[in-house]
Symmetry: C2
Subunit: 203 residues, 2 copies
DNA sequence: TAAATAAACAACGTGATGTTCATTATTTGT
DNA sequence: ACAAATAATGAACATCACGTTGTTTATTTA
């Protein structure tokens, strides 16, 4: 029974987080001062420094907290072994978009506009990339079209995040399954066939 | 002969730019103070405010100056009409990578690490996307795999930038032509064939 | 060479940061 | 229920960078 944290600490921390989330959405991270947070949380400015080193520290804590939810959701996605990642990509995309839907206002303030926090995007992309690496399957080496694994992972991760951000920015212009399916089809079969343009085969 | 700008202005502006570029590479944009710039440029801090509103204003001016070079280079790339953008993508990628090679240290400090300036990336991506839209060709509408144009443009732009940044970050792990060719092949034919994995055809 | 103007110099008010310290209030464990 | 522990408050302080306002000096232009 030794390790029970003081109730005051829990209360204070919680109200700081809540105030911070609200303020980020209202005026954007950069414009926030520690005093703003203290006012909103109805605590003394000093008390803030009792719990967080500074504003970036608080931001980091909050981002990690929320992204760990996303990570947990993604980790559960099954890895399809052959062909690599077509259904994996589709499943992960669905999972991500659904998770975002549940926390839309927050994701918006993190990913969109000039107030956006690019660190968040970077952290998110890392989560995606890790999952892609996990689901990687070596190619036949003697294929004439073989490409570098690193290049391909980077390609997939960036394209993935691009679509996600586009989807958030445009307020869900397409349903989740539609985006997931279109995305995985472009990735798999190439944009020529995906876009309905005839492909002449190479020899 | 009325509109000749004072030599002092030209001198001062030039030394401010030079100092700024150096400092950005040395300690990163955020860590720089106006006083730093003034010291390095050997001018009074006041003089800085005679030419730029503030630090972000200077940053913006510098970014636009350097990206306009890139833009000019890209604009010259021919648009291949059919099939859409395969060779366009390859050509643009080559152009971009070559341009970056010529200004590597600067691009590094803009695109890589924690000191990176994400605004720059966004501006760059916009240039790419504009070119892609310009080279766009409508698909056959009744194709079973048809995807949204907006989604596809976003897809291409993000993937493009992802590869570029990956290439800069890893210090040119592959030659320019190799990257360009691999990238355009993934985009065109899909990552399955590009990675050398067998593709079973859809019905 | 005189008028125009850019740059330097000095000073000021502002606002946010992070820290210190004494005091008050609350919680915990016995 | 109470004493000890500790969290939160409030006030103060030094620091730093910002952006602005004058006045004076130096340079450039015509």
């Amino acid at each position: 029974m030794n390790k029970k944290t003081d109730l005051r600490i829990l209360r204070t921390k919680q109200s700081i987080r809540k105030a911070f989330y609200e303020l980020v959405q209202e005026k954007g991270y950069e414009a926030i001062t520690v005093q703003d947070i203290a006012d909103r949380a109805m605590i003394n400015r000093n008390t803030f420094y009792l719990h967080y080193q500074n504003k970036p520290d608080l931001l980091d804590t909050c981002m990690n907290e929320l992204l760990s939810d996303l990570k947990d959701a993604i980790v559960l996605c099954p890895i399809s072994m052959n062909p690599f990642s077509i259904s994996l990509l589709e499943t992960v995309m669905q999972t991500v978009l659904e998770h975002i839907s549940l926390n839309m206002t927050f994701y918006r303030s993190m990913l969109i506009e000039e107030n956006r926090i690019y660190q968040f995007q970077a952290k998110m992309e890392k989560i995606i990339n890790d999952k892609l690496v996990e689901g990687w399957q070596p190619a036949q080496e003697n294929s004439p079209l073989a490409v570098s694994k690193e290049l391909l992972i980077e390609y997939l991760g960036s394209a993935f995040m691009g679509i996600v951000i586009w989807w958030v920015k445009n307020d869900k212009p397409l349903p989740v399954d539609e985006v997931s399916s279109q995305f995985s089809r472009i990735v798999a079969y190439g944009h020529l066939r995906a876009a309905g343009i005839a492909v002449e085969e190479e020899n």
